[in-house]
């Protein structure tokens, strides 16, 4: 059985540069870095983001500005990891892995996350679906 091809760091770099000419993309020995601006709707502000990826790990995505905040109900921001790194997929479902391109998966999911983040601020509800990790017993 053929194993699916794993993308190299260079290939991830090239795909990002090609698909998103507006972004800054940088390739280092072990990591690819990407930064840019996204807005989920025509009337949204632009959100600045940065991304860092090492092959075989979860791509880390952070919103650098405007700062992510709790909503009017003072609810904590949903679907983030510590340090407010966005949580864009469920690892067990393999929605993203090293056989997939960041350009195809992570970037569009970031816009979608921002869309629901804005709606969560406006309505108080997260309508983007998703799951939460089971809490460990203390």
């Amino acid at each position: 059985m053929n194993s699916k091809k794993k993308y190299t760091l260079a290939e991830q770099f090239v795909a990002l540069k090609k698909d998103y000419p507006e972004f800054k993309v940088r390739l280092e020995k072990n990591r690819v870095f990407c930064s840019g601006q996204l807005r989920p709707t025509a009337r949204s502000v632009y959100y600045s983001f940065k991304l860092s990826y090492k092959v075989g790990t979860r791509p880390k995505v952070k919103i650098t500005s405007p700062v992510l905040k709790r909503n009017f109900k003072n609810d904590k921001i949903p679907h983030v990891y510590p340090y407010n790194e966005l949580c864009l997929y469920y690892p067990n479902y393999q929605e993203f892995n090293s056989e997939k391109l960041i350009a195809d998966c992570i970037i569009p999911w970031t816009s979608l996350w921002l869309y629901h983040y804005e709606n969560w601020h406006i309505t108080g509800k997260w309508e983007g679906g998703g799951m939460h990790p089971k809490l460990k017993n203390k």
């Binding site: 807005r39 009337r43 679907h79 949580c87 997929y89 469920y90 195809d104 309505t123 799951m131 939460h132």
Partner: protein, 383 residues
């Protein structure tokens, strides 16, 4: 609600959705139509005055011109209809004509208990649903098919009215624009033109201004500016703008200019009936009548202006949401917002959603320079 790449179109779509949410729904509309058709049948069955009379029945007011707004709180929908009679009215007293209509309604088992006589019309109360104000009127001359004389009980005389003429004036104003911004945007996206997208910016603007009026005067209803004044001002100051946003913006601007000029001369704004300049809709604003109403009108305009200027700034959707909620009420805004989110999520589940690779804007059209959004499950916990 679809996603547009242009922010002005996006806002116009949201404004249109909000107006659509609060207008008279089709079910109610049909109920009201069958109610007035029933009145027509009743009059046709009359063995007295109406047997040989030449008459027709038609709606007037917001239902006629497409600017209905759901009433707030316990208020009911208001349907205004006209019984337009062609007869030699000069030979009769106004009381006679009014009483003929009253007679037929009070003699009917069906309507007897609903009848509530008013100054010019007879109100039928369809309790908990709507009320229908029936205005009897006689065609004044042979040559003008629209102008009427109607009985005014307080005056004890005939008074002039022209509901069809007013309706035509307003519709003509609405049609100053051939294709609105939204119509064009829908055409460009190859979406079918439907009742929603074909409604004119002036109609939507009047709906929204009335909504804002209901919200602003919610705790002070006696001071609320009347719908006929707001509708007439909007029509008079409309300049054929293509978008709902610009329509409201320019109407506010022109009102401000007028108020400023008139204030300089020590005059007040007068809102005359465009099809009968002898009738001053804003008559109550006179110094010796209820000048507080005029003061409240000016405050109402100033507040709308301030909020509208805020809306023009690029402060993002949160700020915009807060302004819109404040102007038009939270529930109308949230309904429109939620319908957009449902639309996006539905497209997402069908894998029909992408992002514009230049801006990140979510879009339903998977055209060039869009990247499809693949299936994903948000995870992680709250921080």
């Amino acid at each position: 609600m679809i996603q547009f790449n242009n922010k002005n179109t996006q806002l116009d779509d949201l404004l249109a959705r909000m107006a659509e949410e609060i207008q008279l729904d089709d079910t109610r509309k049909e109920r009201m139509e069958s109610a007035y058709r029933a009145i027509e049948s009743l009059l046709n069955e009359d063995t007295g005055f109406f047997k040989d009379a030449i008459f027709e029945i038609y709606p007037q007011g917001s239902v006629r011109i497409g600017t209905t707004v759901k009433p707030t709180g316990k208020n009911e929908f208001d349907l205004d209809i006209v019984v337009h009679i062609v007869m030699n009215w000069e030979e009769y007293s106004p009381q006679f004509v009014y009483n003929q209509l009253k007679r037929v309604l009070q003699n009917s088992d069906r309507y007897r208990d609903k009848v509530e006589p008013k100054n010019r019309c007879i109100r039928l109360n369809y309790a908990g649903d709507f009320h229908m104000d029936i205005l009897p009127g006689c065609q004044e001359t042979e040559i003008d098919y629209n102008k009427l004389v109607v009985p005014d009980r307080k005056l004890g005389d005939w008074t002039s009215s022209n509901p069809r003429g007013y309706g035509k004036w307003f519709i003509d104003k609405s049609n100053l624009v051939k294709m609105s911004l939204l119509e064009k945007a829908y055409a460009m996206e190859n979406l079918p033109a439907d009742e929603f997208s074909k409604k004119k910016p002036l109609q939507r603007a009047v709906q929204l201004i009335k909504m804002y009026r209901d919200e602003y005067f919610n705790d002070n209803k006696e001071m609320a500016t009347s719908s006929i004044i707001l509708t007439t001002i909007a029509g008079e100051f409309y300049g054929g703008e293509e978008s709902i946003f610009d329509t409201i913006d320019n109407i506010i601007g022109r009102i401000k200019q007028s108020l400023s000029d008139l204030n300089w001369n020590g005059d007040r704004l007068k809102v005359l009936n465009p099809v009968n300049n002898d009738e001053d809709f804003s008559d109550k604003w006179e110094e010796d009548k209820e000048p507080e109403l005029y003061e409240y009108f000016k405050k109402f305009v100033a507040h709308l202006d301030a909020q509208w200027q805020n809306l023009k700034e690029d402060n993002g959707v949160l700020e915009e949401a807060n302004i819109l909620k404040g102007l038009f009420g939270e529930s109308a805004f949230l309904r429109a917002q939620n319908s957009q989110v449902s639309y996006i999520e539905k497209a997402r589940k069908s894998s029909e959603i992408g992002i514009n690779t230049k801006t990140g804007i979510l879009t339903e059209s998977l055209a060039i320079a869009t990247k499809k959004v693949r299936s994903n499950t948000f995870f992680g916990s709250e921080q």
